[in-house]
Amino acid sequence: MADMSWHSDSGGGDDSAVLDMDQIEPGQISRDYDRDHQDDFGSTYASEKRGNSGTQGSKSFAEDMRQRVGENVTQMMWQAGAQSAKRAWNVYGNIDLLRPYFDVEPKEVQSRLLYSLIPLRPTDTRQEVPKELYGPSMVVLTLIALLLYQMKTADHRVEEGTLIGSAFAVCFMYWLGSSGLVWFVAYVCEVRIAILQILSMMGYALFGHCIVLFMGTVFHTGHDHMFFYLLWAIIGGLSTLKMAGIIMSRTRGPKQRLFVTGTIAVLHMFFLLYLHFAYNTFVQEISDALHDNLVPAPVSVNLNIEVPSNDVQAAT
């Protein structure tokens, strides 16, 4: 016969896991639970709330359980969120993704800078556009430095912010913003070009802007802007034609070609005009000052001379 001695034990033995419900008093389970699970302050939450009623004891037990479950769920959600954020950062914030686009030799950068001003006749063969970001980044940073020099020379003042902050914002917003706009237009017109190629193409095209700004600042010609307009047309035009040739070799349809190249031309040429006239006021002011010194302004002279009367002449 099986040993039933365990059955005869009264419920409530400290080490026994078997409970005889006939022996258990009402509320004893909750009391035992609270005794075993006191909080850090040495008092039980449930015991403070509970009176002699067993129903109130079970309610406190339920609230306690709810609180603990809530804490555990909050902790689990926090850990899951942190892990997701870390995973997303490793995927999208990892700058190693850009590493292949900075693998370039000095001679390659030099040739690409030079060829950005040499347009090629568009043919059915696609013109090559490198997927590179070192050269365009350096060109944009050079443009920022030249703009800063121009602003310092022109004593340009910024009300809120700094000159270098303004230069950074203008140049990077143009490069990224115009590349995004051209990419959208290219997508609509079915141009076979990638966003990185557009960034590279627009970035290298700013080399012409750097040349024009540098020469315009060093050789400012007073009130006459003809020298700047000449550089704007020649150098700005060459870099625009280069980009137009690239786009036309990758687009089918005359209307699509016209639309995309027109967009690029407007953005490129007007940005150079903006850079010159917005931050080059020194040229205008010094020319006005020089003009006044060389050709003084005419002064009005009153020619109504009063002739002394005869009485005065008689007296003398």
Binding site: I95, D96, E105, P106, K152
Partner: protein, 184 residues
């Protein structure tokens, strides 16, 4: 010229003391890097930047700000801001270009040490105007001196000998902005 040499010696001594002059290794490091910066045409040892310290760069930055103060320009905030942005840009660029990666300490240390010629330029700005032909020549020479020194230290530490020109150009831009701070 004698005054400038004396000032350089004082700066190096202060930097050495700040680095813990009692420790021979730190003093040797500061002196070695400073001499490497002062002689840009001499090749640098690739182990020279293994022990990076920020005491020397800090002293040179304070000296730069102090020399600008002599010209009536209070630009400590600009030095800090431009230095921070420049270090961040160089950190991103060199991590993208080098195979082994580079720590921020090396970037700050190299760019800070190579600011020494700019300190000379700002002291000379107290004595003469930098907006004339002589000033332009001095500025160009100083910027090239700083960038060649910095690129030499970077390529020796990161084994990027074939790309020294690519490393030197962004350094030129950073020190060019510091030069604008000195001139205007």
């Amino acid at each position: 010229m004698v005054i400038i040499v004396v000032l350089v010696v004082v700066l190096v001594v202060v930097a050495t003391a700040a680095a813990g002059g009692g420790e021979g290794v730190a003093a040797v490091t500061v002196l070695a890097v400073t001499m490497a910066v002062l002689n840009p045409l001499k090749s640098a040892d690739h182990t020279i930047m293994q022990d990076t310290d920020l005491a020397g760069p800090l002293v040179f930055c304070m000296a730069f700000g102090g020399s600008l103060l002599l010209s009536g320009k209070l630009h400590f905030g600009y030095i800090y801001g431009i230095g921070l942005v420049g270090c961040l840009a160089m950190y991103c660029l060199l991590n993208l270009m080098s195979l082994s990666g580079v720590s921020a300490g090396i970037i700050v240390s190299v760019l800070g040490y190579c600011l020494l010629p700019m300190v000379f330029l700002s002291f000379s700005a107290v004595l003469l105007s930098l907006k004339g032909i002589v000033g332009i020549v001095l500025v160009v020479v100083t910027v090239l001196w700083c960038s060649v020194s910095a690129s030499k230290l970077f390529v020796s530490a990161l084994a990027m000998d074939s790309q020294q020109l690519l490393v030197a150009y962004p350094c030129t831009l950073v020190y060019g902005v510091f030069a604008l701070l000195t001139v205007f």
